[in-house]
Symmetry: C2
Subunit: 387 residues, 2 copies
């Protein structure tokens, strides 16, 4: 049968910069990026969307932005800055997505202009999605402000909002044009948010880099004390492992494999079941604990390695189990998380487990009885520690 | 300053097949495609969305689909087929987009399953957008049923819906996994729809292929008589030129240049101003006439070439001007179309004009006085013809 064949490749590129005081007038990193991409004939605009948590912790930000673009002309700052709530709520209610899209229309933001998002992973996900679908894709700048978003979600290629109560039901793969990780935003994080982001570093160490895991063990105390150089290395190394992973395999995830989702199938569900009282990073820590102990009980992982993982999580102050994550009954809501995870991945259920620290293995079946035992074991460990 | 660099390429590939009677049980083209991409461990599903115009003209289609997938098992047909209105209305009201997204949820359509759209360009655009953002991209199959969609929009990489009264305000670049052009759908088109799609062939010939333009001149009478082999060649050649163009330049349109939008800046606006009583192809024919005569009046194009274009349009039965397209006043609503077109493109205004048949030239400025003259000239020509 006669046919036409279409084939082309698209190159995606961006840098992730690390800095302190991104919008200090003397810091030209941001303006250098913008000017480098400027062309004489086009007047580019930039529109900012800011996480309310960041806006509260940094009341000077608004003035700082205005001063910065006054000092570094060449791009038109839209003076109205959109503040949206931080946390999962911004992905649950489509009104915030609508607000960004409306701003695109109101301010005439075109495809050569920028939408910059300053905030945690949820805000970046929502704004990234709105930017990706407005005019079929407006240039998107990410300025992640939490440990979690600086080392994980904020530097990747995914965006999305929740729909039908399902995480990231709507979204796209759309790389940002640039990412700026500014460590001064980390200073104002609560201890809870500071810790939360560390779980993604543990995750990526567990499946990719035993040496980084040992570094985490050795530096757990400094991390708890909020030592900044230690956190800076953690963010850098975790970001690097993520960036490398995305480029090396299947950036837009056409297959069923998602090694970076280690510990995430139950974490996603737990976030929902707890009505997002459990933070993503906290849920991931518990998901890591569950899948690690499951790896051990199913004969893949040594008891020693399993204990090291649990100990590190506990040393960092993470809870390792949540009542909602204990799989007592066959109709436990967490078990339905499997099917939803499979559906979102598409195709075959694929879960990452561990065979050693730094070495993952993908499996396509899960033994519910062993999963129940893993939940029980973690319950007991958590209980011991609390006593 | 230290930074991480991300860089990767994504390959996009798909075939455009030409066939007759795609869902005749004996025609294995469709099932061959599905089976070739099947893997043992995944139960794939397929969900159909059908243009109401097609459903009315082909009342047998529903049964045919069921018989087809009964005869060719291996994929799970979702028995509920979603019928949506044809034409621009389906892109104007977000409820249809919502209906597709809801079906993805209701039927558990995952990223290894398919959403197939059967219909005109508007239905394909809307369904393509819903598929592209559900679960960050469900495999999308296009079955265009009009001349316009078979030779132009349906075989490309764009999708979208209208928002804020602006065409394709929301959308993405997301190639389909396969396109099937079935010429039996063309048999039931109205004369108006049959003709409409020819304007995109004229457009692409004018900017890329003088020989194809001559062929169109020589075959205008056969096209008007609805000779099927002639139309088949037109669709094939026009599709081929589009496919080649997309792959050769800037598939996801990161620049301001859009040569395939020749004649489209005014056409888009005219569709809106006429409340879509003027079909896209009809508006494009008038847009081509306007930009051709403007090319002549601005000294780029010979009078002879300009006349050939107008004559071909008229021989095919197209109107060459519309009262709304006549640029009498400085505040003519058509003139605002410039700014909207620029904003959607992003950056600098870039309009394609002609220097000869088959040769385009991009310009960044338009002389409003000459544009008014072009409108007047076309008004007189149209008037002469009618007399």
């Amino acid at each position: 049968m006669e046919h036409l064949h279409q084939s082309f490749t698209i190159k995606f590129e961006y840098n992730v910069y690390f800095t302190t005081g991104l919008f200090d007038t003397a810091n030209t990193l941001f303006s250098d990026f913008l000017l480098k991409n400027n062309t004489a004939e086009v007047q580019r605009k930039i529109f900012f969307v800011v996480d309310s948590g960041v806006a509260e912790a940094h009341p000077e930000l608004n003035t700082q932005l205005k001063d910065y673009f006054y000092a570094h002309p060449g791009i038109q700052l839209i003076p109205d800055i959109l503040i949206v709530p931080g946390g999962e709520g911004v992905k649950n209610d489509p009104i915030y997505f609508e607000q960004v899209v409306e701003a695109v229309n109101t301010y005439g933001i075109d495809r050569h202009s920028y939408i910059a998002a300053i905030g945690g992973g949820s805000v970046l996900d929502m704004v990234g999605y709105a930017a990706a679908v407005s005019h079929r894709g407006i240039k998107h700048i990410r300025i992640p402000t939490t440990v979690l978003s600086q080392n994980d979600s904020g530097i990747g290629v995914k965006n999305g909002i929740n729909y039908f109560g399902k995480k990231n039901f709507l979204g796209t793969f759309a790389p940002p044009v640039v990412v700026f990780n500014d460590d001064s935003f980390l200073l104002t994080l609560s201890d809870r948010d500071w810790r939360s982001g560390i779980s993604e570093a543990i995750k990526v160490a567990l499946i990719k880099d035993a040496e980084f895991f040992t570094w985490l063990e050795n530096n757990a105390a400094l991390l708890v004390q909020r030592d900044m150089p230690t956190m800076n290395y953690l963010v850098w190394r975790c970001a690097q492992l993520h960036i490398e992973h995305i480029a090396s395999k299947d950036p837009f995830e056409s297959g069923s494999s998602r090694p970076l989702d280690f510990g995430h199938w139950s974490a996603h569900k737990l976030e929902y079941l707890s009505n997002f009282e459990v933070r993503h990073g906290e849920a991931v820590a518990m998901g890591i604990a569950l899948d690690t102990v499951y790896s051990q009980l199913s004969g893949r992982l040594s008891v020693n390695d399993s204990n090291r993982v649990i100990k590190l999580l506990q040393n960092l102050g993470f809870d390792i189990i949540h009542p909602l994550l204990e799989v007592h009954r066959d109709d436990s809501p967490i078990l339905t998380g499997f099917e939803e995870f499979r559906e979102h991945l598409g195709g075959q259920l694929t879960i990452m487990l561990l065979t050693a620290i730094g070495v993952g293995e993908e499996v396509h079946e899960v033994d519910v009885e062993l999963l129940k035992q893993a939940g029980k074991l973690l319950h007991n460990l958590q209980h011991q520690q609390v006593q």
